[in-house]
Symmetry: C2
Subunit: 237 residues, 2 copies
DNA sequence: ACCTGAACACCGTTCAAGT
DNA sequence: ACCTGAACACCGTTCAAGT
């Protein structure tokens, strides 16, 4: 894999850093800025040092190790997401859809942070707030608290997992992404029908892997199934 | 983050490698073996060299670069999955469930490969076979070819994304994983109810992030929604 | 033809040194 | 107290050298 870190792209630190300008907040902001311009290699101490105009190891003054940094940046991602979130409505399913698409947008914009965020618990304030808002949607639907908790976890993981895939694909080295996309237009369309009868019968209908409507349909399907299940449970009472 | 590569765990190459013993198949097998014992750092040239008892760069004789290696190993993962797959039945939904759980198992067993597999197209024979079998399930359900293609993509991406999250969590440094799991038992259970009324109302019901039934429920929900949609389309005809 | 050794530009992390 | 420089064990990749 070619190294995703391009030396030309990182601005050289021409000015020395004034004392006491570094802080957790400043570093998190810088991390989100690099992760918007660079790909999966954005979250290194060197990339951050260059962005801040500081020595890479200066960051250790403010975060115990990489994991503490990384969880703080993940929570910064959730802060950015909450700031962009449309206000909640009286429609719990619409609010769930808004939550999901906003998360997807923010993940694709910051792929390096997204890869980590998907499988981690930041256990910091903006994650708490995000969980609160998601659970609020399920509770407003009228389901039991046990169901709200269960479907919160499953819905969130599906959204996190799908968004992380789309983020990773968007951040892939352009040459590799092109080759992957082309495979579905070329290799998959010239397979022998005798060996792959079902595949070849439908290849022309397979949506592109980078089609953003795939994610939206996945979210709609989850909501439909959860609604159908909890409606059936209510009738059974 | 502590380095996931442990020197003590990798066997030293005491014997020199006989000429001509290296091949694509041997290297892929070794890669799947290391990725079963080591975590996210399993797929490096050094780890592979140690496993093979060969110089790390000897691999370049057999694969052009890391990406070609990686796509071949991803396809090796699909080969392993297909070998473990239970034979298909007359129940398309049950077959889809089997496909999903087998993929989840293989991903969790090889987390380093899984992280890459989720967002890539190997465009090699075992991936073709996997796509063929998945599309076969949807076509047997009686839906249109266009729907089979659409739902293949969305169902597969949900399974891939969720499995990749569970794989990453399972491969996390044990200390970090413990801290993440504990957050849901401690931090999340001591939040102020005034600020987080919905969260605190249901915290005791939230399933653990490593509960394997979360994934199975997600798969069931997807199948239920797809079945409901296509049944409704049939009635409309 | 197939494998090794040395080199290069990257990683995270530690620690002594500067201010 | 806050930041820098040098060092260490890792990365992927290239290329000259060995057999």
């Amino acid at each position: 894999m070619p190294n995703p870190t391009s030396r030309a792209a990182s601005q050289p630190a021409l000015t020395r850093l004034p004392r006491g300008t570094l802080s957790q907040a400043v570093i998190i902001e810088a991390a989100l800025a690099v992760s918007e311009r660079k790909g999966l290699g954005a979250l290194s101490f060197q990339a951050l040092g260059a962005e801040l105009g500081a020595h890479p190891t200066a960051i250790y003054r403010h975060f115990r190790d990489k994991d503490e940094l990384v969880l703080a940046v993940v929570d910064g991602l959730y802060a950015e997401m909450l700031a962009e979130l449309a206000p909640s409505s009286e429609d719990w399913a619409a609010d769930l859809r808004t939550l999901a698409t906003t998360m997807h947008d923010v993940f694709v914009r910051h792929p390096a942070v997204a890869q980590i965020a998907a499988a981690r618990t930041s256990r910091r304030e903006h994650e708490f707030e995000l969980v609160e808002q998601t659970i609020s949607c399920f509770r407003r639907s009228g389901m039991t608290d046990a169901d709200a908790a269960r479907y919160y976890r499953i819905f969130s993981d599906v959204v996190l997992g799908y968004s992380a895939i789309d983020a990773a694909l968007a951040a892939l080295d352009p040459k590799l992404r092109e080759a992957d996309l082309r495979a579905w237009q070329v290799e998959y369309r010239t397979l022998p029908p005798a060996e792959f009868p079902n595949l070849t019968a439908v290849t022309s209908h397979i949506p592109a892997i980078d089609d953003p409507s795939n994610f939206r349909t996945a979210v709609d399907l989850m909501i439909e199934a959860i609604r159908a299940r909890t409606a059936a449970a209510e009738v059974a009472d």
